[in-house]
C-alpha cells in the first residue's frame, strides 16, 4: 500500500516525458495554426478530466479497472474494453520506445544497430514491468528524485541563456487568437494524462486523496509552455519547425562551460532515457495487467506463490513477449515520417480513449449506486 503522493509522481512523470518527442513536435508544427490557444484550452480540459477521474475512482478503493469491470459490466463487454484500453497503453509505450530508439541512433551511437538498442530497452522494460505495482512506484520515486533537479537545472540554463530569443517567443504568442487544431489540443492534454495510470495502480493506493490541483495545473501548464516555447526561443520562430527533435536540438544548443562535459545533450539524453524507460515500464505494467484481467478470473492479489501464480507468470511472459515482438515489427516498418504520423494518431486516439474511460467509470459509479 502506498500513499497518495505517488499520484503526483505519476502525473509528473507523464508531464516531463512530454517535454521531448511528439508533443513538442506537434505543438511546434502548429505554432502558427493555433497551438498557443490549444495549450490554453488543454489546461482546463486536462484538469477537468483528471478531477472527474479522481472523484470517481476514489469510489472504488483498492480496485483496478479489471476488478471494477468484472463487477459492474457484462463479461464480454468488460473484456473487450480491457483489450482496447490495453492497446492504448501499449501504443503509448511503443511510440515512446521506438521514438527513443531513433533518438539514440541519431544522437548517441549511430554505429550500433537500432535493433540492438531496442532489444536492450525491451529487456529492461519487460523485466521491470513484471515487478509488483508497489515496486514500480518506488522505483519511479527514486528516478524522479534524481532526474527532476537535472531537468530544472537544464530549464533554468535554457531560459537564462543570453541566446534565448524572447522576440521569437513573442512572435509565436501573437498567434494566440488563431483557432486551435484538434491535434494540438490532443497533444497538449496528454501532458495531464498521467492520472490515467491509476486504473491499475489504484489497487495499491492506501486511500487516494488528491489535493493541490492548482499545483498540478501550474506544473502541467509550465511543461506545455516550455515544450513549445523553449525550442522556439533557441531555434527561432520559423527555424524550430525545421528540426526533427526540437527538444534535443534545443539542448544541443546549450553549452556548459564549467563542467566535465561540454554538450548538455549528454545529460539530457541520460535523463530522458531513464524517464522513458520508467514510463514504458509503467505503461506495460498497466497494459499487461489489463490483458491479464481480461483473460483471467480476478484473483486476490495477496495470493502466495501457488500453482495458479506460476500459471500467471507464464501468461505474463507470453503477453510481454507478444508486446516486444509487436514493437520490434513496428520498429522495422517505421521511418521518421510514419513514426511521427503514428504518434499523432496515438495522441488523437488517446484523447477519445480518455473520454471513453471517464464515461465507463461514470457508468460503473452509477451501477454501483443503484446496487447499493
Amino acid at each position: 500500500m502506498v500513499r497518495s503522493v505517488y499520484f503526483y509522481y505519476l502525473f509528473l512523470l507523464n508531464a516531463l516525458m512530454n517535454l521531448v518527442n511528439f508533443v513538442p513536435r506537434i505543438l511546434i508544427g502548429d505554432r502558427f495554426d493555433g497551438a498557443v490557444m490549444g495549450v490554453m484550452l488543454a489546461i482546463p480540459i486536462g484538469m477537468l478530466f483528471m478531477y472527474l477521474f479522481v472523484r470517481m475512482i476514489t469510489k472504488f478503493p483498492g480496485q483496478g479497472f479489471p476488478e471494477i469491470f468484472a463487477k459492474y459490466l457484462p463479461g464480454w463487454l468488460g473484456k473487450l474494453i480491457l483489450f482496447l484500453l490495453a492497446f492504448v497503453w501499449f501504443s503509448a509505450s511503443s511510440v515512446t520506445l521506438v521514438g527513443f530508439m531513433d533518438v539514440t541512433g541519431r544522437y548517441i551511437s549511430p554505429d550500433v544497430s537500432p535493433y540492438t538498442i531496442l532489444i536492450g530497452f525491451l529487456a529492461v522494460v519487460c523485466l521491470g514491468a513484471r515487478r509488483s505495482s508497489e515496486s514500480i512506484l518506488y522505483a519511479l520515486e527514486i528516478i524522479l528524485f534524481i532526474m527532476v533537479p537535472l531537468i530544472v537545472y537544464m530549464t533554468y540554463r535554457a531560459i537564462s541563456s543570453p541566446y534565448f530569443q524572447w522576440d521569437a517567443v513573442k512572435q509565436v504568442l501573437t498567434y494566440f487568437w488563431t483557432a486551435p487544431t484538434l491535434t494540438s489540443v490532443a497533444a497538449a492534454t496528454y501532458i495531464f494524462s498521467g492520472y490515467a495510470n491509476v486504473v491499475i495502480f489504484n489497487r495499491v493506493f492506501q486511500k487516494l486523496r488528491v489535493r493541490h490541483y492548482w499545483a498540478i495545473a501550474l506544473i502541467g501548464g509550465m511543461t506545455a509552455v516550455m515544450a513549445m516555447l523553449a525550442p522556439v526561443g533557441f531555434l527561432g520562430a520559423e527555424g524550430a519547425g525545421f528540426h526533427v527533435y526540437p527538444a534535443f536540438s534545443t539542448v544541443d544548443s546549450l553549452r556548459i562551460r564549467y563542467f566535465i562535459i561540454e554538450r548538455m545533450i549528454y545529460i539530457f539524453y541520460v535523463v530522458y532515457l531513464c524517464l522513458s524507460l520508467v514510463n514504458s515500464i509503467i505503461h506495460w505494467h498497466v497494459a499487461k495487467e489489463m490483458v491479464l484481467g481480461a483473460i483471467e478470473k480476478p484473483v486476490s492479489r495477496s495470493q502466495d506463490r501457488g500453482p495458479s501464480q506460476k500459471k500467471r507468470d507464464t501468461k505474463e511472459w507470453w503477453i510481454l513477449a507478444f508486446f516486444s515482438a509487436a514493437v520490434m515489427v513496428g520498429a522495422s516498418l517505421m521511418d521518421q515520417f510514419s513514426n511521427n504520423l503514428i504518434g499523432i494518431w496515438f495522441l488523437n486516439m488517446r484523447l477519445w480513449a480518455e473520454l471513453l474511460l471517464l464515461i465507463l467509470l461514470a457508468f460503473c459509479v452509477l451501477r454501483r449506486r443503484s446496487r447499493a
Binding site: Q171, T174, F234
Partner: protein
C-alpha cells in the same frame, strides 16, 4: 529446471549483445579528431569547392607542450563527398564530434554559406554549438596558422571565438544554431566574426571585424571600430573602452557595465523610429589632460561621452540599415509586438529602408581610476 533454462537464455542473450555492439564501436585510439574545418571557392571552376580539415594528431602527453596537427585538403563537389574522400587519405576513423570551428573563406561567404551551414546542422556529430566565422583571405590560409601561444591543436580559434580565452570587444560571438535560426526566421539576419591574419612576423590571427549577411551571403564587412559599437549594442556588459574628445583632449573610458535596449515606434502609418536607450557604466582609464579633474568636468565629460557614443551608434545603425540586413532583429521584434500577423511582414518590409533612429546614451563614470 525452469530457472536454469531461464538463466541460460538470459546469459546467451547478454553475451550476444556484447558481440553486436563490440565490433561496431571504435576505440579512441582508432579515431582522428577534426578540430576545425573550412571551405573555399576554387578559381576557374565554380562547380567544385576546396574543403580543408584540420586534424589533431594525438600526442602522448598533453603537458609536453608539443602540438601536432595535420591539414587535409580536398577539392570536391560537395562536403558530404569530400568527407568520404578524405577518409581514404587517413588510417583512422575521422570524427567530427570535436570540431569547434567552421571557417567560410571570404569568396565563398560572398557567394553563399548555405551548403556548408546546412550540412553542419543536419549532420548529427557536428555540434550545434560550433563557432562559424568568415576567413580572410581564405579558410585554408587561416587554418594553416597555428599561433605560438596555441597549446592544443586548433584550439586558438575556438578559444578566441568563444571568449573563454581572450575577451575582446572586437570579437563578435555567434554559434552555428544562432546562424541557422537567423537564416530561417524573417526579420533577423545572421552575422559572423571575420578572422584575418597578421601580415609578416610570427603567424597570428586577427579577429576584429564583423560580416553582415543577408540570408545567405556576406553583404558587408564592418570596420573594427564599427564592430566594437556593434558589440556594444548586442552584448550586455561588454568589456570595452570608449573614446571621446573634450576641449581638444582625448579621454578613454573602461566600460564594465553596459546595456542597450530599444523600442520600435510607429510615428505615422508606414514610418517608424527606433528608440535606443544605452546605459554605460565605467571608470576613466586614460586622459590626455594631465591636470586634476573636477567633479564639474566629470559631468561635462559624461555629456561628451553621451554625445560621441550616440553619434557613433546612430551612424552605425544607419549604415547597417542601408546594407539591407537586420542583424539585431528589429523585424522580429516588430512581428513579436504586432498582432496583425497577416500584414505585419509587408508593413515592415516597406518601413525598414526608411526607418530612423533616436539614440539616447547615459554614461555614468563611477570614478577616475587611481588618480584624479
Amino acid at each position: 529446471m525452469n530457472r536454469i533454462k531461464q538463466g541460460i537464455l538470459l546469459l546467451c542473450f547478454l553475451t550476444q549483445m556484447l558481440l553486436v555492439s563490440g565490433c561496431e564501436f571504435r576505440d579512441i585510439d582508432l579515431r582522428l579528431f577534426i578540430v576545425a574545418m573550412g571551405v573555399d571557392t576554387v578559381e576557374d571552376n565554380p562547380d567544385v569547392l576546396k574543403y580543408t580539415f584540420k586534424v589533431a594528431v594525438p600526442m602522448g602527453d598533453p603537458k609536453s607542450g608539443e602540438i601536432k596537427s595535420l591539414i587535409l585538403t580536398q577539392v570536391s563537389s560537395s562536403i558530404a563527398k569530400a568527407a568520404r574522400e578524405i577518409k581514404s587519405k587517413v588510417d583512422k576513423e575521422l570524427d567530427f564530434g570535436h570540431c569547434k570551428t567552421v571557417l567560410f573563406g571570404e569568396s565563398y561567404a560572398r557567394r553563399s554559406i548555405r551548403e556548408m551551414q546546412e550540412w553542419t546542422v543536419r549532420r548529427r556529430d557536428t555540434q550545434l554549438i560550433m563557432y562559424p566565422a568568415v576567413a580572410v583571405p581564405d579558410a585554408e590560409t587561416v587554418l594553416n596558422i597555428s599561433p605560438a601561444t596555441e597549446r592544443i591543436a586548433g584550439n586558438a580559434k575556438a578559444l578566441a571565438l568563444s571568449e573563454e580565452g581572450t575577451e575582446s570587444p572586437y570579437i563578435v560571438k555567434t554559434y552555428m544554431f544562432d546562424v541557422d535560426r537567423r537564416i530561417r526566421d524573417e526579420g533577423i539576419d545572421p552575422f559572423l566574426p571575420v578572422i584575418g591574419i597578421v601580415e609578416g612576423g610570427s603567424p597570428m590571427l586577427n579577429i576584429n571585424k564583423v560580416a553582415l549577411l543577408d540570408k545567405e551571403k556576406v553583404r558587408d564587412i564592418l570596420a573594427p571600430e564599427d564592430t566594437k559599437i556593434f558589440n556594444l549594442l548586442h552584448v550586455r556588459n561588454l568589456r570595452t573602452d570608449l573614446e571621446t574628445m573634450m576641449h581638444g583632449n582625448h579621454y578613454n573610458l573602461n566600460v564594465d557595465r553596459s546595456r542597450a535596449v530599444y523600442q520600435i515606434i510607429t510615428t505615422e502609418p508606414g514610418k517608424g523610429e527606433i528608440h535606443y536607450k544605452i546605459t554605460i557604466g565605467g571608470n576613466l582609464e586614460e586622459k590626455d589632460d594631465y591636470n586634476k579633474l573636477s567633479h564639474g568636468e566629470l559631468i561635462e565629460l559624461e555629456k561628451s561621452f553621451n554625445e560621441s557614443v550616440a553619434k557613433d551608434v546612430e551612424t552605425l545603425l544607419l549604415k547597417i540599415r542601408d546594407t539591407g540586413t537586420d542583424p539585431t532583429g528589429f523585424g522580429l521584434r516588430y512581428f513579436g509586438t504586432h498582432w496583425n500577423n497577416a500584414t505585419e511582414k509587408q508593413q515592415w518590409k516597406d518601413m525598414y529602408p526608411g526607418i530612423t533612429f533616436k539614440v539616447d546614451v547615459q554614461v555614468d563614470i563611477k570614478g577616475t581610476g587611481y588618480s584624479r
